[in-house]
Amino acid sequence: MKIFTVVLLCIAALPAQASETAITQVQDSYRTEEGSAFAATRGKSMWTQSFIQKKSGKQVSCATCHTADLKRAGSHIRTGKTIGPMATTANEERFNDPAKIEKWFLRNCKWTLGRECTAQEKGDFLSYFQSE
């Protein structure tokens, strides 16, 4: 009976576990020195910060496609395609593959900010996604 409960708990914990493992792994790879820390609050303020997009000349932010409320679904500003919520608590599909996380950080930072994000910025974003 005890084993049964343990198994059940494990299954229930699985979805959360997947994103936690991937995020921890990615964040560890960003840490350059002992003790450097990531802050959800910094991630949050950068999420809605506006930049001039190079090609279109329009004001954009991460929230332009993902919305400012991480628990809500967003939509791609050019194609209209729905983008699932970013909060780990609202979307089990999120952040379970380190390569996917890196791929999108690269594309979206370049597109939005006109440059790659720093390790610190990416780590902060990930803490923010986990905090909501």
Binding site: K55, S56, H76, R78, T79, G80, K81, K103, L106, R107, N108, K110, W111
Partner: protein, 186 residues
């Protein structure tokens, strides 16, 4: 001339020509039916990597809508993909190109791809499907307010907004339902 003989000759002539054309039609029928059964329309996407990578920002267009040369060019310029950054690692790019060029309009024959090819010059490598002459001619009766003026559609590239069977490669007018307007009656 005897009217009866004339009428008889006429009937005979008519039936001969009918049976001749009958043979011709039967042949073409079979050909078209065979083609239709196998490949009446562009085959649905059957590649997981392609569906995930090229379906992340929009409907995953079937490779049968463009020739191989178009796809090769597109995959080579993903860092500036219609003003979007869609860059991808070399390994995925190679695998996706491989899939695209074996399913492209000029490689896998079907009726739609053939019409597409006929509307493109051999020297061109068009990047958009929505602006191909064939596509424009198929959609020229739809007013702009239902496409670009329609928040739920946005652009002619948003196939899946109107064609409910788009993922299965079904694009005929019976499966059309334009958001805010409804089914399409010719």
């Amino acid at each position: 001339m005897n009217k009866r003989i004339f009428a008889g000759a006429l009937i005979m002539a008519a039936s001969v020509s009918l049976s001749v054309s009958g043979i011709v039609f039967a042949d073409r029928d079979e050909y078209e039916r065979g083609l239709f059964k196998r490949t009446g329309t562009v085959p649905a996407v059957a590649n997981k990597l392609y569906a995930t990578e090229c379906g992340a920002c929009h409907f995953a267009y079937q490779p049968g809508w463009l020739p191989a040369r178009s796809w090769k060019k597109m995959v080579g310029e993903l860092d500036d993909h219609f003003g979007e950054n869609a860059e991808l690692d070399q390994e995925s790019r190679d695998a996706i190109t491989q899939y695209l060029v074996t399913e492209a309009a000029d490689v896998k024959p079907n009726r739609k791809s053939r019409k597409i090819l006929r509307s493109i010059r051999d020297t061109d490598a068009p990047q958009r499907i929505s602006t191909l002459r064939y596509m424009v001619s198929k959609h020229d009766e739809i007013p702009a307010r239902l496409i670009t003026g329609n928040a739920k559609v946005g652009s002619a590239a948003n196939c899946i907004a109107c064609h409910k069977g788009a993922s299965e490669g079904q694009f005929n007018e019976h499966g059309v339902n334009i958001p805010g307007y409804g089914p399409w009656e010719d």
